[in-house]
């Protein structure tokens, strides 16, 4: 079924996307993309602005309807399920731009995230362990927090639902490098619980560092799949910007 995805390690497949095509009006944002995510692995999706990365994630989360193709979770076809039902199945998305509940406190944001939580390793206490600064500020309104802090709350809010697959959309966007480091530090912890991570990153080097496998999108189409070790910088460059660019363009470092 998922013949065009690369072989994943022995981890059982949780999420698989088959020949997914999504339109934004006239524009074909995602064009015949297939991928799969197994337990405890990190699949990083890279690609330039407008390559369809966010649309792909939002479609998997149920916020967009695909024109064709299927989304399957643990063998169950969830293509036609509503977004809120997919959370209960085990898929959580940390959306681009964080999208916190501005008038709620930090703790209330996490409580909303946990209100349909499955059984699992994460609860509020565990999130406070992961991000120790949160405990003292749990009664703070989130609109007063810095971008990095808000991003951490957004990740915490998704984790407390105890997803089997966690999708992270552009977590590093607009954050200082040192802050990005601290955000990415929690990923090994998440993966160690057998959670599959589907990561969308514009910051290619950061995305590659944590990836088990890489999937590159170019204008909505899959342009490259592989493991970070097996791919050369040049291959990634071509897949990222398109192979038929003039010479001076291909010299830009995709980082």
């Amino acid at each position: 079924m998922s013949s065009d995805t690369t072989d994943s390690p022995s981890a059982p497949t949780l999420l698989s996307v088959d020949h997914l095509t999504v339109f934004h009006g006239q524009l074909c944002a995602v064009d015949d993309v297939s991928l799969s995510v197994g337990a405890g692995e990190v699949l990083t999706i890279i690609g330039a602005n407008g390559a369809g990365k966010s649309t792909l994630l939002r479609t998997i989360a149920g916020l967009h309807r695909p024109a064709s193709g299927t989304v399957t979770f643990e063998g169950e076809d969830i293509t036609h399920q509503a977004a809120h039902q997919r959370v209960r199945v085990g898929i959580s998305l940390v959306p681009e731009g964080r999208r916190l509940f501005a008038s709620l406190t930090l703790e209330e944001n996490l409580l909303v995230g946990a209100h349909r939580a499955a059984e699992g390793p994460f609860d509020l206490a565990r999130v406070y362990e992961l991000f120790p600064w949160m405990k003292d500020r749990r009664r703070g309104k989130v609109f007063q927090f810095s971008g990095g802090e808000q991003q951490a709350v957004a990740i915490g809010r998704a984790l407390v639902a105890n997803p089997k697959v966690l999708m992270l959309d552009e977590v590093s966007l607009g954050l200082a490098p040192i802050v990005i480091e601290t955000i990415y530090e929690v990923i090994p912890d998440i993966v160690s619980h057998g959670i599959g991570v589907l990561l969308v990153e514009q910051d290619v080097s950061q995305g590659l560092r944590v990836a088990t496998r890489v999937h590159c999108l170019l204008e909505g189409k899959t342009s490259l799949v592989g493991t970070p070790d097996s791919l050369s910088a040049e291959e990634i460059e071509h897949a990222y910007f398109g192979a038929d660019l003039p010479d001076n363009a291909t010299q830009v470092q995709p980082s």
Binding site: V87, S103, E108
Partner: protein
């Protein structure tokens, strides 16, 4: 003493405005629906108290026991069907649909019950009042309505801030898509908010029907006052709505003191002044994360 009377009578009528307005405020705050049929729903509740409830052998005084839960149910159903369909299209459609609903309701009421004035009959109680001194009379009905308004707004405030359902309503009103990503069915949450809004406006409608005579077109002017109370107080603040209602009531009484025709005018003037000086309302906040 005359001034004290203006303040007291203004506060009493303001309680009614606040009770009337809180549902409007809630529906706008949660699903961004400006319900132009809000006033008409209150009038339907008043008509139900006069004509339908007696058939169940319930005294009109106790009509709210039947009508409030019934209207909560109607609110949920109307939201999940008609209003949700409109919201799924665009905000302008929603405005048109509630406007259409208002026209349909008014004309149905005219057709069924004629344009004759009606009132909810609670017997002698309606005329009873507490005489504070030679100038100030406090009507029991107005006092009960003000007390009910404070109670309803307080209960609603506690529900929204302390319970998990209330938290979910606030989350959905902040960002419905993000709430979906937390596993919340926002359409159901919308339904719950509409149920609360319809229940409170039904209560206000009965209170209205007890204190004055009404006819099928009485909803419009009440919608205007409710709208003004919400804007003066600030959208999204329930206590603000109460204060807004009371300020509006006081302003109207103040105007009426000089000339009865200035009653509405003085209220509108206050509304315009607040809108000009503090567009977010007295207690309104501007909170936004995701521009």
């Amino acid at each position: 003493m005359t001034w004290a009377n203006i303040l007291i009578q203004g506060a009493l009528i303001g309680g009614f405005y606040a009770l009337f307005a809180c549902g409007l405020s809630l529906m706008f705050g949660v699903m961004k629906v400006i319900n132009l049929a809000h006033g008409d729903i209150a009038v339907v509740a008043a008509y139900s108290a006069v004509f339908l409830v007696p058939k169940l052998h319930v005294a009109q005084l106790w009509a709210f026991v039947v009508i409030v839960p019934l209207f909560a149910l109607i609110g949920y159903v109307v939201q999940r069907t008609l209003l949700q369909k409109a919201i799924d299209r665009d905000p302008f459609t929603t405005l048109l649909v509630t406007f259409g609903l208002s026209v349909v309701i008014e004309n149905l009421l005219l057709e069924i019950y004629s344009a004759n004035g009606q009132s909810v009959n609670i017997g002698e109680l309606v005329a009873k009042s507490w005489q504070v001194n030679s100038v100030i009379y406090v009507s029991y009905v107005s006092l009960v309505v003000l007390g009910t308004a404070v109670l309803v707004l307080g209960a609603l405030q506690i529900f929204l801030s302390r319970t998990s359902s209330g938290r979910l309503i606030r989350a959905v009103s902040d960002d419905r898509e993000a709430a979906q990503l937390c596993g919340a069915n926002y359409k159901h949450v919308f339904g719950v908010a509409a149920a609360i809004a319809f229940a409170t406006v039904a209560l206000a409608g009965i209170a209205f029907g007890i204190s004055t005579e009404f006819d099928p077109t009485a909803g419009g002017i009440n919608l205007l006052y409710a709208f003004e109370a919400v804007v003066i107080g600030g959208i999204g603040s329930l206590w603000g709505t109460l204060v807004g209602g009371i300020l509006l009531g006081v302003a109207q009484q103040f105007g009426a003191h000089f000339n009865l025709e200035y009653q509405t005018l003085a209220g509108n003037a206050l509304f315009l002044i607040v809108l000009a000086i503090r567009p977010q309302g007295l207690f309104g906040r501007k909170v936004s994360l995701n521009e």
